[in-house]
């Protein structure tokens, strides 16, 4: 059994955790309440700033139209597809660059150029080549995240302890063995982090793509809302996005914990 002192210590941690959670929830309720209060008493212009009630109404209307989940699904689909291609493709290319140092050195300045280039500027070209479709949006998102994925993963792979590589070489291992026995498992945490960063980047890319060209999706809702000056729709879009991005982030955290077991 635990000593009294230890019980007290555990209780203190529990209370502390509870207080943190409580304050977090309090803040969100306070914001919603103040926002609605200000809207009700005409302290703010609801035409520009919308209000929680209006947002809920907009969501319900979208749901009744049957378009709510359509828009969410379109954006979600674009995010997942680009996320998978960017992450897996980025890791694959980084692996090739790790394996073939000559290729890596040749390609290095091009990676730097592509990385520093503001990817939105490619938007018009992508639309002309790939057409005004989801394809363009996915390519946009890919450009934004894959370059930085390649750079980060390559660096992580190259940072593996040289002594451990020598150890494997002393067992006469082949490059693919070094990769699967050492490089990949030792970079497990780095790869998870790359995934977490990528989710954020992909959302930027997808929404940017939807702003430029789209017929549906949450980015389309925001763009459409701003064009017809329906700020309720804009705010609703932003709220939907933050919920989606958070859920996907926690999905990765969940998968990470699952894999650790």
């Amino acid at each position: 059994m635990y000593s009294n002192e230890h019980k007290k210590y555990l209780k203190k941690i529990k209370i502390n955790n509870f207080l943190i959670r409580f304050t977090q929830i309090l803040i969100i309720f306070l914001i919603i309440f103040l926002w609605q209060y200000a809207a009700n008493h005409n302290l703010i212009n609801t035409f520009i700033s919308s209000s929680p009630k209006e947002i809920v109404k907009t969501i319900i209307n979208l749901y009744k139209d049957g378009t709510l989940f359509h828009h969410i699904w379109i954006t979600f689909y674009e995010v997942i597809i680009s996320f998978l291609i960017a992450t897996l493709g980025g890791i694959l290319i980084a692996t090739l660059l790790w394996r073939f140092k000559f290729l890596s050195k040749v390609i290095d300045p091009y990676l730097t150029i592509l990385n520093s280039l503001p990817k939105v500027s490619l938007g018009p070209i992508i639309i002309i080549i790939a057409g005004a479709s989801a394809k363009s949006i996915i390519i946009m998102a890919l450009f934004i995240s894959i370059i930085i994925t390649i750079i980060n993963v390559k660096q992580a792979f190259n940072n593996v302890d040289e002594n451990k590589i020598r150890l494997l070489k002393s067992f006469k291992s082949k490059p693919h063995q070094i990769f699967f026995k050492l490089i990949l498992p030792s970079n497990y945490n780095n790869l998870i982090n790359v995934c977490k960063v990528n989710i954020g980047l992909i959302f930027i890319g997808v929404i940017m793509g939807e702003f430029l060209v789209s017929k549906a999706g949450v980015g389309y809702l925001i763009m459409y809302g701003s064009q017809v000056f329906n700020l309720n729709l804009v705010m609703t879009g932003i709220i939907l996005l933050s919920v989606m991005a958070t859920l996907l982030y926690y999905l990765i955290v969940f998968i990470e914990k699952r894999l650790q077991k």
Binding site: R166, L168, S170, F171, K172, S173, K181, P185, Y188
Partner: protein, 247 residues
């Protein structure tokens, strides 16, 4: 009988600015079951010699004669255990890489783990082990592939002094018990005298052989006991003067 013959080994390193002669002339004959230590000032190219012997590096010139059927085991500075593998899996690494996970070999690894006090730690991860235990795991990983010659490159340098004494005792006895030949690099003169049958002293870079000592101690036993032998100080003094440390 000599199982390894090295003659006039020479190694030059090339950098953009210049070339560095690391090893000028190194020769060695290793007998079956012999424990040879190589000592020398730091940065004198000791590790280079080992890298060349186990094929990780190429010599510029010189001859290495070795029986084709002999196998090497290389133990580097630090234990280099893989944190994501448990102790048992760490020990099997070499066998996995050689596609040699036969029942017989796995039994051998289990036996080694049992014999050298790691029975209860098979499922543990390296982070939960003490430095000395990690070093033992590292040795078992090397022994698992049944090498005939062990190359030890400052194997204990990461350990604190007390642990170092205990572990070198351990490792020495394991090597002797398994009847392996070994070449150990160290900068610790007493460690060399207490463990080796023969000590090769190198000059500073470019390294050449300065002196060779056959270590003959009365009542030779374990490394810690050997430190008490009356010849110990004599050898220490000689080698110290050979190395000629300047501060």
């Amino acid at each position: 009988m000599d199982i390894l013959k090295v003659k006039n080994l020479r190694k030059t390193y090339h950098t953009k600015k210049n070339e560095i002669l690391a090893v000028e002339d190194f020769s060695l004959n290793l007998k079956q079951g012999e424990f040879v230590a190589i000592v020398g000032p730091s940065g004198c190219g000791k590790s280079t010699i080992l890298s060349i012997l186990c094929g990780l590096d190429k010599a510029s010139s010189g001859k290495i004669e070795i029986d084709k059927n002999l196998k090497f085991g290389y133990m580097l500075q630090g234990d280099n255990l893989f944190d994501w593998r448990n102790i048992y899996k760490n020990c099997l690494l070499g066998l996995e890489l050689e596609n040699n996970l036969t029942k017989e070999n796995i039994n051998y690894v289990n036996k080694l783990l049992d014999t050298y006090g790691l029975k209860e730690f098979k499922k543990a991860y390296p982070n939960n082990l003490s430095g000395g235990m990690r070093q033992r795991v590292s040795l078992i990983r090397t022994l698992a592939t049944k090498p005939d010659i062990l190359f030890l490159d400052e194997p204990f340098s990461a350990l604190d002094y007390q642990t170092r004494l205990a572990v070198s005792d351990d490792v020495y006895q394991i090597i002797k018990k398994e009847k392996k030949s070994a070449i150990m690099i160290t900068h610790d003169i007493s460690e060399a005298i207490s463990m080796a049958d023969r000590i090769i002293v190198l000059t500073k870079r470019p390294s050449k052989i300065k002196n060779i000592y056959e270590i003959k101690l009365t009542n030779r036993s374990t490394p810690i006991q050997n430190r008490k032998a009356k010849e110990f100080a004599y050898y220490y003094d000689k080698i110290w003067k050979d190395i000629d440390y300047h501060v």
